[in-house]
Symmetry: C2
Subunit: 303 residues, 2 copies
């Protein structure tokens, strides 16, 4: 057991998975749950995630770790709702996909007798809500911790305790600077999702090809994009609003490269195309070798 | 048995899979194989795809169906190499991802005593070469046939026979106009691949984030793009060179929509973002309902 009691604020895919994983791993003596949405609380109760409270302060009062599992734009409100109840020495952490903006919003609401240790589990699926949670979600996945600039030994101890908790849930822990996190995630996660949202929404209102044709023949490439484009729209709206600078920078680069590719197609520059496609192919091999994806063709889908 | 003997020209992923599927289904009495690459022929021999010939004319001489399974840019050469040997009444087909340009290149090389019936199986994986082939590749997938404008009853019979062959291999057959095919495929296949190639190649030479960071954290979205970007570069070069107009048109639309999305991020237009992401999510549900992808989270990947 890492913590006597944890409180999870927000019982969606991530919050639910933390509850299930912590119980399975025996990482928490007790688990308190709060969600601002009444029907989610109801569902959390029937799914047996832990002790579900109708009041955020009541949920957080006894907790040694309070984990904010809400969309990035709702972090400040979540923190404000539990702050008055936090006990001395409590660790507050979060699972937001953006770290700079969350730290800016939450830090000033953090009581002096508690420790704010921001984090981000690189784990999830295209599904959302309490029913989407499962205990194995964090197994083998990265948990990035972005500690504040706080030299107190008690703070260092809080960081280590939080890291031990995530390790108990099966994650690999990595420390990173918050601004570095936001740039790296803009590349590996935020831009890919943005591109996927864009192509899928575009295909829906083309005039030249009907939506039913797109759906019917989607297995020839398009369907791959629909998966990540099915992720929670509120979560992603908040990511783009709160990691704007890093996303716009990498998006600018993407558009620039795409314009060059467009030009190569227009002018029939076969060698340029071949060289670029060959380069992209090598990256896949590295991803497989790093154990970050399955080598099974089509991800092992039956068809 | 649909055909007494078929000849497959090109023993890569598709050619190899046709050979294996035709044998398993008993759709061909005999299978002849030719590949312009000697080491591929060698491999085809040891994998036992059929009777492997070192000469294209010898492979095609007895065949009732000659199936060209080479990249789009190599179709004319493949057709030229077998044309002198084609027997009277033979059906010639292909598996090219572009139909207009292939028909333009191949039609004029087709002997008058044979029937050209172009086609395109919407099936494949990110792997290529003879070892990537497997018999189940076409099961439940679409086979698009784009018949020429030929009113002879013998031609109609040839089209039907080819369709029966693909059905025997497990495919669902659909007839389509060649130019319509090229527009639809530009949307559902060519653009998605282009976008994937672009983002993966871009990530490889970013200055702000190292390649090893991209690989390490790729499971948060990026890895999905590396899969289709691992497809055969020669095949894809030829697709873009030969379906230029349709690809440039849909790419123009993609870029336009992406610019609007960029603007919404820059100006913090949360409602615009939410509405677009929500729309994209609905498309995923349609793809699942149409049986075109698995509903399993993360495609059932372990992690």
């Amino acid at each position: 057991m890492i913590f006597e009691r944890i409180a999870i604020v927000g019982a969606g895919l991530i919050g639910a998975s933390v509850a299930l994983a912590a119980r399975e791993a025996g990482a928490a003596g007790g688990i308190s749950i709060y969600d601002a949405n009444e029907s989610v609380r109801q569902r959390a109760r029937s799914l047996g995630f832990g002790a579900v409270f109708d009041d955020p302060e009541a949920a957080a009062a006894e907790a040694d770790l309070v984990l904010l599992c809400v969309p990035v734009g709702a972090m400040a409100a979540a923190m404000g709702s539990v702050a008055p109840a936090l006990k001395s020495g409590a660790i507050v952490s979060d699972v937001g996909s953006v770290k700079g903006a969350v730290i800016d919003a939450v830090r000033k609401l953090t009581p002096a007798h508690t420790f704010l240790v921001p984090g981000h589990p690189l784990a999830g699926t295209e599904h959302s809500g309490p029913d989407a949670g499962f205990a194995a979600l964090f197994k083998g996945r990265w948990q990035i911790i972005t500690p504040l600039d706080d030299a107190r030994p008690e703070y260092a101890a809080a960081v280590e305790k939080l890291e031990a908790f995530w390790r108990a849930l099966g994650a690999q822990v990595e420390r990173m600077d918050a601004s570095r996190h936001d740039v790296v995630l803009a590349v590996v996660s935020h831009l890919p999702h943005l591109i996927a949202f864009n192509i899928v929404a575009m295909a829906e209102d083309l005039e030249s090809v009907t939506e039913s044709e797109v759906v019917k023949y989607s297995a020839s490439g398009f369907r791959d994009f629909t998966r990540i484009a099915a992720s929670d729209p509120t979560m992603w709206r908040d990511v783009f609003l709160n990691n704007r600078d890093a996303v716009l920078e990498v998006l600018g680069r993407f558009s620039e490269d795409l314009a060059a590719l467009q030009r190569a197609i227009r002018w029939g520059e076969g060698e340029t195309l071949y060289a670029l496609f060959d380069r992209a192919r090598r990256m896949r091999r590295e991803v497989i070798e790093a154990g970050q994806d399955t080598p099974a063709p089509n991800w092992g889908r039956e068809n």
